[in-house]
Symmetry: D3
């Protein structure tokens, strides 16, 4: 049996530092998995990543002890079950707006009797540790160890937050701040410093704490990540691999060009 | 006809800032191609990149005006011809140690009568511009515009540098400093500050200038890149995409962890 | 026109021996297709297989006379239509629980007027035989030859079995015994010898026979497969390629280690 | 900001000549993109194309000024959002039968407040031009420039055509004539010359014109394409890459065989 | 045992009509394989095709009775052996200039004692027919049925033609007319109507006939193909899939635009 | 630093049980890596495996402690260096016939001063353990830990065995029995029980022992593997993944068919 170390970090009262993979490559993911993150999320929603490549990315993460999560593109049982079978130890799901959405999400991710996840942990039986005699006991602890994480990113979700947070089987919630900002009528990036956005963010966090559900959030800088952890978020995602690559490459090119010009 | 703008930069007396792609993904390459480099080299030697993926990386570069180069894994006519047909506007070739190696390299890359490159510019006929009526005039200017760049990285190559530099068809030379350091009996990274290494590097550059052949070099920081340009190198490669990703990811994770500890 | 030989086997009163492919590789599938199965099912639900690789697996099967089937991940018209266009001669669909599910499944798989399958048999027009003048007459017999096979694997499906079995267009039904066992509150593997499970299995088979609908089932050993055929199942799937590989590799390694220890 | 030149062509009163890509290859798409089409549609419904390859096909198109569109397999927000993020400048969606379908389609494709498209234009931020500082202003004009195009291909859609055409956010409509013919009880190909089909086609076009919505249609020959443009269709698709390849190859083989026989 | 039907066609005194695949896609190859060619050559030299995709292209051809050949990028035992193991029934090899080249080529392609081809017909044992008990008798007839075809395309090769043609194991020769034209100092396309080129071509054919070795040639139109067959060539390749696609697409687009302009 | 546990097994006086991967899939390789083998060899010679897929197979092995080896297709520095950089901890190289071949092989695999392997352990720096600050100390112990293993499979190699075995840097030798049998004029499979073959095998083993070089061999059954270990071979490969799959699938199908017939 493989424990989900995210839960152990939370049990210690600490926050999870989560990497984010949007480049469809098992190698860029393997690089990310060696840099010190607690968990890595493969982004199948906005990342350029589809299932077949995601499998190789999950394999790359398996060469480390980092916990693999996946953001699915939609609340669809087909991809939820497939990506859990492929070795993901949790799912982040966009656009969960009410208890019906949340229950549908949970049920697709949990084996009976909690849900209707279909049996066939084809790769997870290897990647989850044991795998003695080709399967082991994964199905006995999967419901417990697998994290189901709805995204809160609409006004409707905020209105229905109590019922979402109390849906049995929800392991955490996650805020996509750009989408939440747009839902509130703000700019996706700049809107995140708008008072209304900040109020919504804090309200979500407060309710999550009330129900004992860890809250996670996407961040775009070290400073914001640290600030969010201090605010109480228990999982922070640090930008994404494509943005790391972009910003560092740009920084280097400009560094050379600017130095040459100055001298 | 598409001009090789690397040559135009050199004609203006400026240096080329070259990106380096080792991640086998057309998307990471597309990101790199939008960050301001003059040229991008696909590394088929030490990068995790084989031909079929390299083709999609070349296609990604073609959505910009950046000049695509390729470092081939070896002085082998099969891959030299294939990668030029696929749209590479030049090749960097490791381990060219004497005039025989250099001639063999040039001949595989040039159409008759300069060489024996076989005719079939299947993708280059599109990516090189024209492509009117399915081919255009690429073969008429390919010998002129396509850069053939031997790597100088052994004691033997240094001994034979005059004959390499005077081999007709050589468009530039390139120093892989880690390999050159190891060839001189030094550590691959640290050895680059060894006096013997520095002397060798300057000797190579001096000879290249004597024969009017631009010299390029790999660098591992903005400072070194600027220093090399000032020293006279006309093409500097800035690390590589995998190292950009690695260092930025590590920096961010450590940034968060260290800030949390301090506070 | 290519006849679906599964139907011919059934018309002879015989049972179909079905292979099961979960490894995402056209080569492992080609190996499977040469070992004597009547049909081969590509498992897009629990197999590590997505559409693009499934297409190459279907091509590999096309080099033999074996009938290709596909288990889709969900009752979703997008994938049902795509996989039929790609050359699958039938689909097995999980989680069909009532007549509404069954009708929705059938309608996505049948051309008008029986359903709303969209016209565009891009690969099937080649793989189905004819393909004279780029298309042939596939659409005229596709509704007849293409097998639509719901999976019966929940208590709800058992309750609604009559209405599922009498849904026009259903060609067979299929039992996933692990899921059925879990739905009945048993262990996925061991639960298959539980009396309640056996009773459910036999009840399903009995009803299927009553309505003249062939029933298929997944099996995990030669003995069980033979037993199921004797019980009346007209299609038996024999484990899967990944389990064949796993068990044979383990058997060989242990064979060597155990023999060395004994001697 | 990159303008959608399809709209500019329409504003000039001209018709768009659209290519159609069904072969899952970035190279065949790149060939198509250089032959003079105004736009190219990647067919994810009947083409053998899934998302991951579609991304490389979109990259290939980006090396030209041709506008990339995608036909999605189904009205599913997951794929609609993913393919727009990947750089598609519009979507054609099958089986839109009423205003509910149409609204659902529009809302998945438009950022708030018009819809609920999630923010993350990962590749579009590069392919749409700007991309200064890693993103630019794509989200500010995306709702305006991105074309949402429902397919009209059932009796139900014809009945509800007014409400579909007046759904805010619809940029054009598209007729798949084979499916429309089958929906009307005709043969998919031959049925297109049936009076009832022709009447339906003209009725659709007339209504579209009434509401100022451009109408597009698939065609199978130069003659039909020209005829449709004259009839008033403002976008015509010319067969598809697989049919171009098939018909030309067959023509050449038969050309040789027939000439040899005659002589 | 699977006979090489190319040899049977030659034995009947007829010529082989050969297709040519440069698009790296198993689907475009499958289309080609259904259009009536006797054989299909996968072009790994100038086609955008590397080994891993070539395997899927060979699998696609195996769904028909068409004989698969491969043009390798270079006279290199690694790729020669790999592509034969993958199911190619013959190889065309560029740049064979003398008997040493020819012997080296033959020896890599023939099992001992004729050569040193290594044993491991991993896919050919399936694709060559039999495959009973995992291998069958392929190795017993492979030396006989597998065609080894050097390309004659340089002045040196013409000078050494007698020794090449009399190298034991050579099954045919092949002329790449563009390369031969360039080797003679002409333009690659237009040079093919130059008297010196024509004389060279006829001289090669004459010598081949003298030694009883069939000669093949690449052609760019039906007319030239027919002419070459009449001249005595026993294998003609008709352009290539990428050129079929390009020319047909261009023809259609221009057809529509020109018709619209005229009217 | 990651130790090569193959060497540790040998130091304990035990034999290595080696798996063999010919199916080009990271998943089949992951399955193999979990079944108890000490090492796994990716077969790039006769397996259907090229470099880009091999990288993902090496990543799959890295999720276990199994040592990854690669059989390269030929003694070519390009692929030798690339596959070591990708994480292979040793190479098996076919057709090493004399000391010149052996030296060439060793020199491509060892960093200076032992050889001329170029510096750039792009993936090995992660997969070899450490990878602190993006590289660690891999290059300091790579020459020691990386196994260079020539194949002995020709009469020439047997004649020159002393000089091959005494080439500095050779870590072991490997017998491909089918090729050796063919080289001796026997059938590839049956010939392995021929007295002349057995004598050659024992002679090779004896000489290897004389020089203290471990010898490995391919085997086709548990019995032969055990026998070879007893004979003194220190590494035995057990068939291959494709043969495991083939034989088990055939066994199961025949098991069902035969049981049905008997009853």
């Amino acid at each position: 049996m493989r424990k989900n170390t995210i839960k152990e970090i939370w049990n210690r009262g600490e926050s999870v530092i989560n990497g984010w993979c949007s480049i469809p490559s098992s190698f860029s993911t393997e690089i990310m998995a060696h840099q010190g993150f607690d968990s890595i999320t493969i982004d199948m929603q906005h990342g350029l990543v589809d299932y077949q490549v995601a499998v190789t990315m999950l394999q790359a993460i398996s060469s480390t002890s980092v916990i693999p999560l996946t953001r699915v593109p939609w609340n669809d049982p087909a991809i939820l079950m497939k990506i859990l079978d492929a070795g993901s130890y949790g799912v982040i799901c966009p656009m969960i707006n009410n208890s019906e959405d949340a229950e549908s999400l949970v049920r697709a991710c949990k084996y009976p009797p909690q849900g209707y996840r279909s049996f066939g942990p084809i790769r997870t039986k290897y990647s989850s540790g044991g795998a003695i005699h080709g399967g082991g006991d994964y199905h006995n602890y999967a419901n417990e160890e697998t994290l189901v994480i709805p995204q809160i990113e609409t006004r409707e979700a905020i209105r229905n937050l109590d019922e979402i947070l109390t849906t049995p089987g929800i392991g955490a919630i996650y805020i996509g701040p750009s989408d939440l900002a747009m839902a509130l009528g703000k700019e996706p990036r700049k809107g995140q410093s708008d008072p209304e956005f900040i109020e919504a963010r804090q309200e979500i966090l407060k309710k999550a704490k009330h129900y004992g559900i860890p809250a996670g959030i996407h961040t775009n800088s070290v400073n914001v990540a640290v600030e969010m952890i201090k605010e109480g978020f228990q999982l922070v995602s640090l930008q994404s691999d494509d943005r790391f690559l972009m910003s560092r490459a740009k920084q280097e090119v400009e560094g050379v060009r600017n130095t040459l010009i100055q001298k």
